[in-house]
């Protein structure tokens, strides 16, 4: 690793974070808070007997949706400014390699995401506290697994943008992968179905093994199936899974970004 490389990555990351704050990406949190607090008042009335559970489930869903929106918005803003406003040319005139730049961008967007998730978690905890809803360790594990899934989304979105000819194509592709990634658990059942034709099986087989399996990060749909808390070995396994996929995505992304004509 070249000297001071990590410092350069951090500098890019800090710049990304500052830019996202400057562009008011974090305003999304106000919408989140409003949706959740407003929703909690409605749920109180509409869901007798299951208010606490519904409120927390709405919180999880909002957290995932708003987290996804935050990262997509951050990537869009950053990449748009780089390409359309030629900011990237200015950055790359400095002694910084393209791979460091991409890694810095990944780290910066990760910071934005973590900040957003942290604030959203606190809002949910506040609502749970005032609503006298008990949250256990599962809450932290669900948020953690959700964050892993979103981190992986950042990595492959950056990889797609580096490969794709333009920003919109990259974002659309990554959204596709995000959607297909949630399907993978069900794809296996379709592959095993004897009625599925061979050609389709092959196509699905490729998709099944190439796209990341996002359903493994979806602990919120399994929360009521466990007594006590989630198995820690499973949490370690999904952490490893996310780390490997993120590494591969970033590797592909940096290779593509190095060769990309700007």
């Amino acid at each position: 690793m070249e000297k001071n490389k990590f410092g350069k990555i951090l500098a890019v990351a800090q710049n990304v974070l500052n830019e996202c704050i400057r562009h008011k990406v974090l305003n999304i949190l106000f919408v989140f808070a409003l949706a959740l607090i407003g929703g909690s008042l409605l749920i109180e009335e509409l869901s007798p007997g299951a208010q606490g559970r519904t409120l927390i489930n709405v919180g999880y869903a909002n957290m995932e949706i708003f987290g996804f929106l935050t990262l997509m918005l951050s990537i869009f803003i950053m990449t748009f400014e780089e390409v359309e406003m030629r900011n990237l040319w200015l950055s790359l005139t400095k002694p910084i390699s393209r791979s460091s730049y991409l890694l810095g961008k990944f780290l910066g967007i990760t910071f934005v995401l973590l900040l957003t998730i942290a604030v959203m978690s606190i809002i949910i905890m506040g609502i749970a506290f005032f609503g006298r809803i008990s949250l256990n360790l599962n809450y932290i594990l669900i948020v953690y697994s959700m964050t892993l899934g979103l981190l992986l989304t950042i990595a492959f979105t950056l990889a797609f943008i580096s490969i794709a000819t333009n920003l919109t194509t990259g974002l659309i592709f990554s959204s596709f992968v995000f959607l297909i990634g949630h399907l993978t658990e069900h794809l296996k059942a379709i592959i095993e179905n004897p009625l599925t034709s061979e050609a389709v099986k092959v196509a699905l087989f490729i998709v099944y093994y190439i796209t990341p399996n996002f359903s493994i990060f979806n602990l919120k749909d399994k929360a009521y199936m466990v007594d006590g808390r989630f198995d820690l070995s499973y949490i370690l396994l999904i952490t490893l899974y996310a780390a490997v996929y993120t590494f591969i995505s970033l590797l592909i992304g940096t290779r593509a970004f190095k060769k990309k004509e700007l």
């Binding site: 007997g49 489930n57 995932e64 379709i190 389709v200 699905l204």
Partner: protein
């Protein structure tokens, strides 16, 4: 055509195939659950499938519960004797079999309000099967079986299963003791057996009381039975 364009085209085609095939095979999800909820499920299995793949299965079941509550709140639906409540409840538990409140609420409505006792019992039994550690369901089943055909043996069975759970209310143990006494009176042939069961229960309550009141109660009963002496 460049390699990149070919890749993009290929990926789009693959996505199209995956979507088509997945939608076409949506019933497989239903097949996995066909044993109970799908027989009379009101919603199409595709609806269930979609909520599952979107990653918001539990949330959709919460929304369906809200819908069911609104249905019950509308007096107009009373004219048709709230006949849709059962299929609605089945939809909810299809999505989340561990959502315990609909089992209690809907079985209660079916049993006491709509006089569909067998349906209510079948529904709560399914709930117990899915949530064996949730003692309230066993208690409700005990109440239904007693109310339906005065079946005290079933009540005993269900209360015994409820008090096995750590968080059961201590009062249940005292109720079980009273039911043993009632059974001893009701079945003179098995009087010794039921009295033996009652004494075993009180001895356990006396030795390991789940609350101080239970120990006092057990002590009093054991003295009355002549087991404990001054």
């Amino acid at each position: 055509m460049t390699l990149k364009s070919c890749l993009i085209l290929g990926f789009s085609l693959l996505f199209l195939i995956v979507t088509t095939v997945t939608i076409g095979n949506s019933t497989f999800y239903g097949k996995n659950f066909k044993s109970f909820p799908f027989k009379e499920s009101k919603k199409d299995p595709f609806y269930v499938f979609l909520s599952s793949i979107s990653g918001f299965r539990i949330l959709v079941s919460d929304f369906l519960w809200m819908d069911a509550v609104q249905y019950l709140g509308d007096l107009e639906n009373g004219k048709e004797n709230y006949k849709q409540i059962y299929p609605k409840a089945r939809d909810i538990i299809t999505l989340d079999p561990n959502f315990t409140y609909p089992y209690i609420a809907v079985s209660g409505i079916l049993f006491f309000e709509l006089n569909e006792k067998d349906k209510a019992i079948e529904f709560i039994k399914y709930g117990i099967e899915q949530n064996p550690n949730y003692w309230q369901l066993s208690l409700y089943l005990a109440a239904y079986t007693y109310s339906k055909d005065d079946n005290l043996r079933m009540v005993v069975l269900n209360i015994k299963s409820a008090i096995k759970q750590e968080n059961h209310p201590p009062m249940l143990e005292r109720i079980l003791g009273s039911i043993y006494l009632k059974l001893a009176k009701k079945e003179p042939k098995n009087k010794d057996f039921w009295m033996g069961e009652a004494i075993k229960l009180w001895a356990e309550m006396y030795e390991h009381p789940s609350e101080p009141e239970n120990r006092v109660y057990a002590e009093e009963k054991l003295r009355k039975a002549g087991i404990l002496k001054n």
